[in-house]
Symmetry: C2
Subunit: 192 residues, 2 copies
């Protein structure tokens, strides 16, 4: 399973075999069945999670029981609650598997150790953080500036592969729309 993560890293940075051995030595693996939690609201997030196979979602459940999806995490993506991890606070979010998944976990401390030991890895993390900021900013832009229909077509064009893999009501939740509205928006736009 580690080879998937290794391949992902090889694609981005150049590390030595010793570097990979170090990383592998602290890597933990976990299989998740569909609907199984990786993190439950109330828990403290202690791991950086990298999705090797499958599909996770990171979401918030409000007082009315409604789910609001903060992030989709398919293969080759990271997930985890930064806030909980950084401040040691109980998380307000849930993470679970939409599909059967295989996850690589790195303990917060091990992750920091790797960053300190391997400068190229550290640079890579910084780069990832910067890119993440750009992604989040674009999402905010879509949220405050677009109509339901525009949000949907924006999503489809950005994430064509995700839209085939998750039920429509989850996309609606991700976009901050009701499932019914999204269903209507979609049927109208295909009619054109």
């Amino acid at each position: 399973m580690f080879y998937i993560f290794r391949k992902y890293l090889e694609d981005k940075i150049t590390l030595t075999n010793e570097d990979y051995e170090l990383i592998e030595s602290v890597s933990l693996f976990k299989k998740l069945r569909k609907r199984q939690y990786l993190l439950q609201a109330g828990d403290i997030s202690r791991f950086h999670a990298f999705v090797c196979k499958g599909f996770l979602r990171y979401y918030y459940v409000d007082e009315k029981g409604q789910e609001h999806i903060m992030q989709f995490a398919p293969e080759n993506h990271w997930t985890g609650d930064f806030e909980s991890m950084n401040y040691g606070l109980p998380s307000k979010y849930d993470i679970d598997a939409i599909e059967e998944s295989e996850i690589l976990l790195l303990k917060k401390e091990d992750f920091e150790m790797i960053r300190k030991t391997i400068p190229a890895f550290n640079d890579f993390v910084n780069e990832t953080l910067k890119k993440n900021a750009v992604v989040l900013q674009k999402r905010i832009h879509a949220n405050i500036a677009l109509s339901a229909e525009e949000k949907y077509s924006d999503f489809i064009s950005k994430y064509p592969s995700i839209s085939n893999r998750v039920p429509l009501h989850m996309i609606a939740s991700y976009l901050g729309l009701s499932a019914e509205t999204l269903s209507r928006v979609r049927s109208q736009s295909t009619r054109k």
Copy 2:
């Protein structure tokens, strides 16, 4: 003017006098009048901007001419278009001064040089990026999960000082609401 930035840094990290001299040696300063641009859509962002005094906004103007405020940047905050800066692309955003402001600018290359030369500064930047991710995530949460009224009270409780400093229609723009709706929301909530 540099002393303001120095004070900001002293609050967060411990640096030597030489470190500060290095930073100061590459710092640029700029005064902005009210409404003056720091960055205009179409320009390539080449500087990290730190607000020493005053108040900037970072926003997007859509085809209909409507402004959508992505970020408010009061004193002791950073601003700039990451995407444009990182990829060398023309920015889609504008940055201008809401109040008369004094800005410290660091060229992208100098900023990177400082990160490489001063490890504590580098750690600080990483920390800032992580915190920023948490802030952006919370904003997304508010966008997809809250009603107009909830968005407004959430904003007020998070940024009480900002809400006294900027016109209401800008807060509306930041929240993705029309100015009229926000005006009504507010008058209803004060009536309680």
